[in-house]
């Protein structure tokens, strides 16, 4: 039986008087590539914040790698690519190498400096995302798709076992979105990195992920991708609270 990376039991979370998440029970097994879908305001980002320990649930229990989140301190095992990552200041004078190094800052710790081993890890992470030719380029000079790869490298440099990506393909053209998903698939199948991907691009995501969870305040569906694509439009519309058509890109 697979050990779970994330286990959420009876989670409730409200912002002041507004319920954001209600009775969430979700298990993410090791090795999975789970797509998280749902309407805006459905609680996806709140769920991620709970997993990252940035906010605490008002009710329920969260376990990470089999350990209660209140006792968990091995945060290097979890990498995160925010939906805001590509809204950074493009004029910022930082090379790819410098940006990726920030993924190691917390791991190295205060009062310590990067050593040769860390520098090697940075080169390897950039290589893994296929961007080694751009190590000394300013990040602002790269295209949106290339920048997103660098942010993945930044998340990968600390050797995470679990990578969370919050709408990482916003603002990236279709061709690069495909390449991006291929990279995620490679990380999942070859590097054994478990993935949780929040995306509105349901059609593309279901081609690469092996599981889907549909969240709208509570989990309305959690199963494999083929079961999800077999859902009727009526069922999907109920989950989303509005009409929904899944569009699959043919390339």
């Amino acid at each position: 039986m697979n050990k779970s990376i994330v286990q959420m039991k009876n989670i409730k979370y409200a912002y002041e008087d507004k319920m954001a998440l209600n009775n969430i029970n979700l298990t993410i097994p090791t090795g999975s590539f789970l797509g998280l879908v749902g309407p805006n305001g459905g609680g996806k980002t709140t769920l991620i914040k709970l997993i990252l320990g940035l906010i605490k649930p008002q009710q329920g229990q969260i376990s990470l790698f089999g350990q209660d989140i209140t006792e968990f301190n091995d945060w290097n095992k979890i990498g995160f690519v925010s939906q805001k990552a590509n809204s950074f200041n493009r004029g910022f004078p930082a090379t790819v190498k410098e940006v990726v190094s920030t993924g190691l800052t917390a791991q190295v710790g205060y009062f310590k400096f990067f050593n040769q081993g860390h520098r090697q890890k940075i080169i390897e992470a950039v290589d893994l995302v296929g961007m080694s030719d751009y190590l000394n380029q300013n990040i602002g000079d790269l295209s949106g798709g290339q920048q997103q790869r660098i942010f993945i490298a930044r998340a990968l440099v600390s050797d995470p076992k679990f990578l969370i990506l919050d709408e990482p393909t916003v603002g990236i053209d279709t061709e690069n979105v495909q390449k991006f998903y291929q990279l995620l698939h490679k990380l999942n199948s070859e590097q054994n990195i478990s993935l949780l991907l929040v995306s509105h691009d349901v059609g593309t995501m279901t081609k690469y992920a092996n599981g889907v969870a549909c969240l709208n305040k509570s989990i309305h569906f959690h199963g494999n991708t083929s079961d999800f694509t077999n859902l009727t439009e009526h069922q999907l519309s109920q989950f989303y609270g509005h009409d929904l058509n899944i569009v699959t890109h043919q390339h």
């Binding site: 995160f80 004078p93 410098e98 920030t102």
Partner: protein, 283 residues
């Protein structure tokens, strides 16, 4: 041309101070600019002016000598930095409002202390526009201590400060103590401003922190190179400013800023020419 600067003690004080602030102002200024906090330097320099006026007032009225204008300016500037941070957390959605509040408070207090000290004198003029002859050995020791603190702390927290500057949200998610690091940074900024005022003056001090970076950012590759080029522009401007200030008998602040503006225009032009050549080659 520099021989006089090694001959007389007062010029040695000025030269060493100049070289030190030519190093620390652009060094810290690189972080100030990329964090889009350039106007904080202006706000804090005006608070430092209030401190200087307070020191001059105490000296003139009560003969207090232990709290020199340099030290009172430093003290006011550091308290101003702490106050700015408080205001920024209170007015979370309008953080920039902290700058005009602190700036006007600085000017208001300056006017009061200047008036109480019976007006505008030559010493205050030097503080406003900088001076080649106003740095005492005591001031130099204070500036050496400040430069040491700034360099040591920036070296220790470089990677955290860089991370915070590039992506604050990511830094917070990674467990970096963003508030503490930012507080340290803002106090360092206050110290650098008070150290720089003797040479460039209150009104032009923010220029020494921001203009070299503005020039450097056009041509540098990466953040470390941005810092390196900024320091080179800063030192060049300081040396030209001090030499011309001494020989032409003018405050060095004006020349320093004009040299920095020239470097800025040159880098903008050079970058444009280089990009045009690159475009033509591509066609």
């Amino acid at each position: 041309m520099l021989t006089h600067f090694f001959q007389y003690e007062f010029l040695q004080n000025t030269l060493y101070t100049g070289l030190l602030i030519g190093l620390i102002a652009p060094l810290l200024g690189s972080f100030v600019v990329v964090r889009r906090l350039s106007l904080i330097a202006d706000g804090l320099s005006h608070v430092a002016l209030a401190g200087i006026a307070f020191g001059l007032f105490l000296e003139k009225r009560y003969g207090v000598l232990f709290l020199t204008p340099f030290y009172s300016g430093t003290l006011f500037s550091v308290f101003g930095a702490i106050f700015i941070e408080r205001l920024r957390s209170i007015y979370h959605a309008y953080q920039e409002i902290a700058i005009p509040i602190i700036l006007s408070a600085g000017v208001g207090l300056s006017v009061i202390f200047i008036s109480l000290a019976d007006g505008f004198n030559n010493d205050l003029y030097n503080y406003l526009f900088g001076s080649v002859s106003a740095v005492s050995r005591n001031d130099l020791y204070g500036i050496i201590i400040i430069a040491t603190i700034v360099i040591v702390i920036l070296s220790i927290f470089y990677k955290e400060l860089f991370m915070l500057s590039f992506d604050e949200e990511h830094a917070k998610v990674s467990g970096i103590h963003a508030k503490r690091i930012h507080f340290l940074f803002i106090v360092l900024t206050a110290l650098v401003i008070s150290a720089s005022i003797r040479i460039v003056g209150v009104l032009l001090v923010s220029a020494l922190m921001t203009l070299p970076v503005a020039a450097s950012i056009r041509i540098a590759r990466g953040f470390k190179q941005t810092i390196l080029f900024s320091i080179m522009f800063g030192e060049l401007a300081i040396i030209i400013g001090l030499i011309s200030g001494y020989y032409l008998e003018i405050p060095p602040g004006g020349t320093i800023v004009m040299v920095l503006i020239t470097s800025l225009l040159l880098t903008i032009t050079l970058k444009r020419v280089w990009l045009n050549m690159k475009r033509k080659r591509a066609i």
